[in-house]
Subunit: 234 residues, 4 copies
Amino acid sequence: MSQQTWQKLVEWPLFAAAVLFLAAYSWEVIADLQGPDAVLAESVIWGTWGLFALDYVVNLALAEDRRRWFVRHLLDLAVVVLPMLRPLRILRVGTIMVVLGRTAGAMLRGKVILYAAGASAMLVYVAALAVLDAERGQDGSIQTFGEGLWWAFVTITTVGYGDFFPVTPTGQLVAVGVMVGGIALIGVVTGTLASWIVERVSVNNEAEQVATKAHIDQLTAELRELREELRQRA
Amino acid sequence: MSQQTWQKLVEWPLFAAAVLFLAAYSWEVIADLQGPDAVLAESVIWGTWGLFALDYVVNLALAEDRRRWFVRHLLDLAVVVLPMLRPLRILRVGTIMVVLGRTAGAMLRGKVILYAAGASAMLVYVAALAVLDAERGQDGSIQTFGEGLWWAFVTITTVGYGDFFPVTPTGQLVAVGVMVGGIALIGVVTGTLASWIVERVSVNNEAEQVATKAHIDQLTAELRELREELRQRA
Amino acid sequence: MSQQTWQKLVEWPLFAAAVLFLAAYSWEVIADLQGPDAVLAESVIWGTWGLFALDYVVNLALAEDRRRWFVRHLLDLAVVVLPMLRPLRILRVGTIMVVLGRTAGAMLRGKVILYAAGASAMLVYVAALAVLDAERGQDGSIQTFGEGLWWAFVTITTVGYGDFFPVTPTGQLVAVGVMVGGIALIGVVTGTLASWIVERVSVNNEAEQVATKAHIDQLTAELRELREELRQRA
Amino acid sequence: MSQQTWQKLVEWPLFAAAVLFLAAYSWEVIADLQGPDAVLAESVIWGTWGLFALDYVVNLALAEDRRRWFVRHLLDLAVVVLPMLRPLRILRVGTIMVVLGRTAGAMLRGKVILYAAGASAMLVYVAALAVLDAERGQDGSIQTFGEGLWWAFVTITTVGYGDFFPVTPTGQLVAVGVMVGGIALIGVVTGTLASWIVERVSVNNEAEQVATKAHIDQLTAELRELREELRQRA
């Protein structure tokens, strides 16, 4: 089996696993599970992790040039190995974004905005989960999921009131991720609007309009007519 | 009557209703109305709501393909149904912006900036109203309209001192709206400036200038002269 | 005397008056003047104000169409009338920026950045002055010029720690001005960088390069050669 | 020896000196060195400073037009003279960025992003060092390297919670540098994304496509065929 066949085969199962993981992780963190429920949630989390690990191993085995694939997919390795550290588990939801992005096909302006909005919403959600997981029971101010969500919104928009902020190293690591996401979000929104405005602001003086393929086509047609005329005369 | 005729007919009445609603809502919230005054303000608010609801129903009835119109105007439905929830009433002022935007016609650069400034000012004003409505009498720090305005400015520019911030879920929802508006505002300002700078920075080397319609026209004229010359010689 | 002659004549005196005003105002606020020194500083401030008022009146008198000039220069009227209100005095330094901007001539990219940097530095400085003038002796946290400067930097970059913030309406009005300046600053920096990057990222595939005037010129030359050839043969 | 030969010769030694300086400075600040270790670290710091001073003097001596070189390299003078003031020592790491930037060659979009990311990471690191050096033992909240790093991240992204902030003039100077870096970072990210989006958003209507060199080439080919035809007929 070629690597491409495998990747097409597991695309949707991996997507489903990522969603399942997100559900189990949300349930565990928000409900602050203890006892058998916690065991169940953990099982789902580790089960979905197993799928991702399997996918990585199979990909490595099927790769034409294994060394090259390994070097070029260090991020994939990180996504598989790092979630063993509890706070980095959320990296796994990146799979959801990758699959959604692939489905989006050619990224036109509207789709860029839609994708950015979706990615931001997911980032806010998983950051709220991860920060709550890290901060609950600590000295910090974030103790409920609602506070986590509010904190994530205040952070991704770079407002930063300071009414809630993480105090544990893990929580601060999550925060740095959200802040970087916020800068990227501002960049995407601004870039898209800029491209839209640049396009809309048409030069009013027609003679100064940029030459288009239509103009060239018209010129070519004229040249062909001349040629035809000469041919008939000959 | 066609749907278009209806829409043209009610455009300005709806605009007036939105303004009237904004005035009544401002009065109710800022003056913290009680007794008969509150009843009067509430009557105006519900009366204008009635107009919006009527407009929605008539539009649905007149639509050529009702199912399609319904699906494509879910936002309109939200604007009609959600304001029954007190904090979401302010959504109705969106009508003011829509009408103003339509009047603005083709959005050239200057108009984009003007519209963004107007929309930001209105967003600050209605957010100050809505957050005060939600927070007054609560444990939070925002207790006067002046504090609400100051908070809205600090939030929309993403400064976020943290001297004032909402503590109720409703107030925080309003805040998220203002923050998103702030990101959009930065995007519009930046995008417009970028488009202006891209245009001003003209390439100095003339040969590297982009070919314009004027260049093509000149070439076409030359080709026609050649044709004329050949014709006369024949 | 024509209006243009007058404007050329007073450009540099007005610039000098604005600088003088800034010096006197800085001295008065930073040193918290009392007694005869305060009288001296106030005299300079009112004297320079007199020059601006005179300039406005003369311009209005010399204008070809006074009504039109009045309507188009409402901002100039504001700059003259508003500084009678103490906190709005700083508006007068706008003259410095206008004169410097005029000197800058055609605004190429480098100059845009330089001008933005200069305007931001001046905005930080006058905002620190104005906020100190408004807040000193009040309940707020800003009580020295150093604190004012620090606060202005934290605000214009939209960081907003919240260690210092204005509490008086006047101070908050100054703050809104600084925040708006900060958004504009981000816009200018981003726009200039975007225009630079758009220009540098050249399309590598030569066939996909945009047609330039050079390409058209080459084509025109070829057409002329053909014409010449036909003429010689005839 | 020409100035260019010298500069090529010392490029990498200076880079190494800057890295060595950064290591010694990091060690001194983070470990809060006292006694002989501090002496050692200080020796390295002053030794590397000596190299930079030497480079400046040699450059001045070898310059063709010394006065012109002096005026055009005031920044270089500042980098040599200012680090005598302890908090400005970190300016020396600018050398690292300059050398890395030179190695990067032509700055294509990917490289711009990579360079911005590298510069931001270095800015966060040296700012955390410098702010800790300035604030430790003072009344302020930043007392460990971890707190310094966290503060630098919160500042460069312009979030500014206000849980940590510098209180000494030196620390605030460092903060202003980080904030300015943050604005530049937002500008680079946004500008790069804007340029990418402008390029990707292709006009779908083919006739409205901008005329490319390929279109012109096709037209030229057609013109040449006509010429050949006429020649053969003659």
